[in-house]
C-alpha cells in the first residue's frame, strides 16, 4: 500500500497513517468479536433444555384461568363453563358436553339479540377507577340471557351463569358460528363478565370443578367430546 522507496522524510507520514489504519481495523475487529461473543452468550441463554419440557404443555387457559362448570344450567343439557382469571374476570361459554353439539351439524347460527337489547351492540367505554364499576357496562343476573345458539334442529338460550357486569360478547360468532363447533372452549367463547367479589363467592359454591364435572357427566350418560384439541 505504501511505496517504501520514498525518501526518509516522506515515508514518516505514510507510516503513521498505516499504523492508524491498522489500529482502526483492529479496533473494529475487536468490536465485531465482542458483539459476536455477546450474541453467542445471549443465544445460549435463549435455547431451552428440551429434556425439561413436557411433550404436551398445559394450554394458556389451563395455566392462567381456574375452570368451573355449570351442568344443566337452568335446563337439562345446558352445560356451560366459567373460566375465571385471578383478576376476577370470567370468560363464559359452552362446555363440550352441551346439547347443541349433539344436534346434527352442530351450531349453525348465533344471535345476540335477546332479552331487552342486542348484546352485540353494546360497547363498554370510559375509564374505570374501581374494579366494580366498568364505565357503562350493564349489570346482569346469572340467569340473564346472553345469546341464542341455533342448530338445524333446535335453539338454545345461553345465560350468564355469573352475576356481574357484561364487558364483552364474542361478536365473531355472528359471522363465524362454526367457531363454537371447532373450539367452544377458546375462540368460541360467548362473553366476558366481571362479577363483584361477593357475587362471585355466592355463585362459586354452585359451580363444579373440572374433576367433579367429569364425574357428574359420567354418572349420567356418557357424552363423547366433539371438540378435539
Amino acid at each position: 500500500m505504501v511505496d517504501q522507496a520514498h525518501k526518509p522524510e516522506e515515508t514518516a507520514v505514510p507510516n503513521n497513517l498505516q499504523q492508524h489504519h491498522k489500529q482502526d481495523e483492529e479496533q473494529q475487529q475487536s468490536v465485531r468479536e465482542n458483539a459476536e461473543y455477546e450474541d453467542e452468550e445471549l443465544h445460549k441463554l435463549l435455547v431451552p433444555d428440551i429434556t425439561q419440557l413436557p411433550l404436551t404443555p398445559p394450554s394458556s387457559v389451563e395455566s392462567n384461568f381456574a375452570s368451573y362448570f355449570a351442568p344443566d344450567f337452568m335446563k337439562p343439557g345446558n352445560d356451560q363453563y366459567v373460566y375465571r382469571h385471578p383478576n376476577g374476570l370470567c370468560v363464559v361459554g359452552l362446555a363440550s358436553t352441551h346439547s347443541a353439539f349433539k344436534d346434527k351439524g352442530g351450531v349453525s347460527a348465533v344471535d345476540f339479540n335477546v332479552g331487552k337489547s342486542d348484546r352485540s351492540g353494546m360497547k363498554v367505554t370510559g375509564k374505570r377507577k374501581k374494579a366494580s364499576s366498568f364505565g357503562n357496562a350493564q349489570h346482569f343476573e346469572s340467569n340473564t340471557a346472553l345469546c341464542k345458539v341455533c342448530t338445524n334442529d333446535d335453539s338454545y338460550i345461553i345465560r350468564c351463569c355469573v352475576k356481574g357486569s357484561l364487558l364483552e360478547v364474542n361478536e365473531r360468532l355472528i359471522k363465524q358460528p362454526d367457531l363454537l363447533n371447532s373450539s367452544a372452549d377458546r375462540e368460541g367463547y360467548i362473553a366476558i363478565i366481571m362479577p363483584k367479589p361477593a357475587d362471585w363467592l355466592k355463585v362459586k359454591s354452585s359451580l363444579l370443578s373440572l374433576e367433579d364435572f367429569k364425574k357428574s357427566r359420567e354418572a349420567g350418560s356418557i357424552l363423547p367430546s366433539h371438540n378435539s384439541s
Binding site: 435463549l46 431451552p48 428440551i50 419440557l53 382469571h85 363498554v124
Partner: protein, 554 residues
C-alpha cells in the same frame, strides 16, 4: 430639620475618633481590624437624620433595620467584625438616643437581622455577628457530610415582616415624604431584610465552606423563618395549598424522613417569599398598594421567629441499562396485601446498591417501558433512570465502575447493569423520547399442536410489517380501558430446536406496546392474527425474553 443633619456631619474628625474609642471597644483595644469598618459606620450614621433615627429606635426598630431603610451600603453594617451591640452603641451615641436597656426584638424584622431566633429545640438563640450564623450553617453542612463545590443561598421570611415594613414606610412617607433624604434614600435605596441577611452571611459562608456562592447551584442552603403570629392569620388561607405527596406510595424509598417533613412543615406556615442571592427583591413602596397594608403603630413583638436550616442537594440522576436474568423478579417493588410478589425487584437491587454510594436520602426508579415478572430482559438491556435525592456526594467515574461491578457480580445473579453513568436532567427527555417510539425485539419459546413444517418457517419469515389488531388482553382488562389496538409486527424468524418437532424459538421485532403472549396464543381469538391463526393450529407460549430495546441515546 435638614440643617441639623448637615451641621452634625460637619463636626470634626476628632469627635469621630473619640466616639470610636469609647463605644465599648475596650475588649478589642490594640486591634486595628475594626477601625476602618467603625470609621465607615460612624460616617454613615452621621449622614442620617438624627431625629428620625431616634423615632425609629424608640418604636423598637433594630439598628440594622434602621441602616438598611436608609439604603446604607451593606458592607458598612454587614461586616462580620461589627457586632450587634457595636452598631447599636454608635447609633445611640451619635443620635443621642437613650435605650431602655434590655434587648428588644426588632418590631420590623422580628429579630432576623439581630441574628436572633428560636431553634428546632424551641430555644432562643441570639448571635452577635453574621459569622456565627455562617458557622452554624457550615457545621450543618459538615455534619451531613456534604461534598460540595458551590452553594446557593435561599432565605424565606414571614409575610408579616413585609407588612411591618410597609406600614412603617407609609408612616414615614406621610410625615416626611417630601424630605430629600426620604426621596433619595428610603424611597429608592431601602434594602430588604432578606437581601441584608444574605449579604451578611454569604462571604463568611464562602470562607468557611471554601467554595463560591452561585445563583442557581445544585447545592441549596435554605433558611426558613416563620412566625407564630403570622401563621394564625394565614392558616385558613393556606388550606387550599397543594401538599407534596410523601410516602412509599409513589415509589419513594425513604432513608431519612426528616428532610422531607421539614419542607412540608414550612408550607403550613404563612406565605413565604423565597428568592435566591442575585436580584434584590424590589422596593416595597413601589410595589404594594398602600391602602391594603397600612397599620400603625406596629405592635411590639415578644416572640422571635422560628428558624429552620435546610441544606440539600438537588436531584442527581444516574442512567444506564438493566438486564433481568430471573423469571421471578419484578421490575419495581410489588407488594399485594403485605406480601411481596417475586423474590426481588430490579428497582430495589439497583437502587439499594447505588443509594449508599451517593449517601442520598432516597431514590426513585424510572425505566423505558417494562416487562412482566416472568419475562427476562436480556441482550442490550432496558434503559433506566435513577433519581437520587439529596445525595451527599456525587459518585466519581471510578465509584460508578465499582457499583457496576458490584451489581453484576452479586451472588444470586438476578439483575445486571450496563453503561452506568451520571447524567444531567436531560436524562428525562431522552427517556421519554425513546419510550413510545421504539421497537422491541423478543424471543419466545412456542409450542404448537402439530409438528412444525418447513413451509411454516418460510411463511413466517416472509411476513414483514404485518398489522395485527389486539383487543385489550383479558389479563389486564380489569384495569385498562377496553380498546382495540393496532400494532405492527416488523419481522419474525423461526429457529428450530434440535430434538423437538412441536417446540421452536420465535424471534420477532414489534412495535412498542404489543402484547407478545397474546399474539402467540390468540387470547380467545381476541388478537387477530395470531401465531395460531397464521399456522392454522393451536399455539402456546412457554417462555418469553426481551432481547433488545432499541434506544440510541442510552
Amino acid at each position: 430639620m435638614s440643617n441639623e443633619v448637615e451641621s452634625a456631619q460637619v463636626s470634626d474628625a476628632t469627635e469621630v475618633t473619640q466616639l470610636s474609642s469609647s463605644a465599648g471597644m475596650e475588649s478589642h483595644a490594640g486591634s486595628c481590624d475594626e477601625e476602618i469598618p467603625l470609621q465607615l459606620l460612624n460616617d454613615a450614621v452621621r449622614s442620617l437624620p438624627y431625629h428620625v433615627v431616634k423615632d425609629l429606635l424608640s418604636i423598637g426598630v433594630c439598628s440594622r433595620c434602621v441602616l438598611r431603610i436608609f439604603g446604607t451600603e451593606d458592607h458598612i453594617y454587614c461586616h462580620p467584625l461589627l457586632s450587634q451591640s457595636m452598631i447599636r452603641s454608635i447609633l445611640e451615641e451619635v443620635t443621642g438616643f437613650k435605650s431602655e436597656g434590655d434587648f428588644q426584638l426588632c418590631s420590623v424584622c422580628l429579630g432576623i437581622l439581630q441574628f436572633s431566633y428560636c431553634d428546632g429545640k424551641e430555644e432562643m438563640v441570639k448571635m452577635e455577628s453574621p459569622n456565627d450564623m455562617a458557622s452554624t450553617i457550615s457545621e450543618l453542612v459538615k455534619t451531613e457530610g456534604h461534598q460540595i463545590d458551590g452553594f446557593s443561598l435561599e432565605v424565606s421570611v414571614p409575610q408579616l415582616i413585609l407588612e411591618n415594613e410597609s406600614s412603617l414606610l407609609l408612616g414615614m412617607k406621610k410625615r416626611d415624604g417630601s424630605e430629600p433624604w426620604f426621596q433619595e434614600r428610603v424611597l429608592s435605596k431601602c434594602v430588604s431584610v432578606k437581601d441584608v441577611l444574605k449579604i451578611a452571611i454569604t462571604k463568611p459562608l464562602e470562607t468557611l465552606l471554601d467554595v463560591k456562592s452561585t445563583s442557581s447551584g445544585c447545592f441549596r442552603i435554605r433558611l426558613t423563618y416563620t412566625h407564630k403570629r403570622a401563621s394564625d392569620n394565614y392558616v385558613e388561607k393556606n388550606q387550599g395549598f397543594k401538599r407534596r405527596r410523601i410516602g412509599t406510595g409513589n415509589g419513594l424509598h425513604n432513608v431519612n424522613d426528616e428532610t422531607v417533613i421539614t419542607s412540608k412543615v414550612c408550607s403550613d406556615y404563612s406565605t413565604n417569599e423565597t428568592t435566591s442571592v442575585t436580584g434584590r427583591s424590589s422596593n416595597i413602596l413601589q410595589d404594594q398598594d398602600p391602602s391594603e397594608h397600612f397599620r400603625m403603630p406596629i405592635d411590639k413583638v415578644s416572640e422571635p421567629c422560628h428558624l429552620v436550616y435546610l441544606c440539600y442537594r438537588t436531584h442527581i440522576y444516574l442512567c444506564g441499562r438493566y438486564l433481568k436474568y430471573s423469571r421471578n423478579v419484578s421490575q419495581t417493588r410489588w407488594i399485594i396485601d403485605e406480601e411481596r410478589m417475586g423474590e426481588a425487584s430490579v428497582e430495589e437491587v439497583i437502587g439499594s446498591n447505588i443509594l449508599p454510594m451517593c449517601r442520598g436520602d432516597n431514590y426513585k426508579f424510572h425505566a423505558a417501558g417494562r416487562e412482566d415478572i416472568d419475562v427476562r430482559m436480556l441482550g442490550s438491556g432496558r434503559p433506566f433512570l435513577l433519581e437520587i435525592q439529596n445525595a451527599r456526594q456525587v459518585p466519581s467515574e471510578e465509584t460508578i465502575k465499582e457499583i457496576e461491578l458490584k451489581i453484576n457480580c452479586l451472588e444470586n445473579k438476578l439483575v445486571g447493569v450496563k453503561n452506568l453513568k451520571v447524567v444531567g436532567s436531560q436524562g428525562w427527555t431522552l427517556m421519554r423520547e425513546g419510550e413510545a417510539e421504539k421497537q422491541k425485539q423478543y424471543c419466545a419459546l412456542v409450542w404448537i399442536s402439530r409438528p412444525l413444517e418447513d413451509e411454516d418457517v418460510q411463511s413466517i419469515s416472509l411476513l414483514n410489517d404485518m398489522q395485527i389488531l389486539q383487543k385489550t388482553p383479558i389479563r389486564v382488562l380489569h384495569r385498562r380501558s377496553p380498546l382495540e389496538r393496532q400494532k405492527i409486527i416488523h419481522w419474525m424468524k423461526i429457529e428450530r430446536i434440535a430434538g423437538s418437532s412441536q417446540y421452536f424459538l420465535l424471534h420477532l421485532c414489534t412495535q412498542a406496546g404489543t402484547y407478545i403472549k397474546e399474539f402467540v396464543h390468540g387470547d380467545f381469538g381476541r388478537t387477530q392474527p395470531s401465531i395460531g391463526s397464521i399456522l392454522g393450529c393451536r399455539a402456546e407460549i412457554m417462555q418469553l425474553d426481551v432481547t433488545d430495546v432499541k434506544m440510541d441515546s442510552f
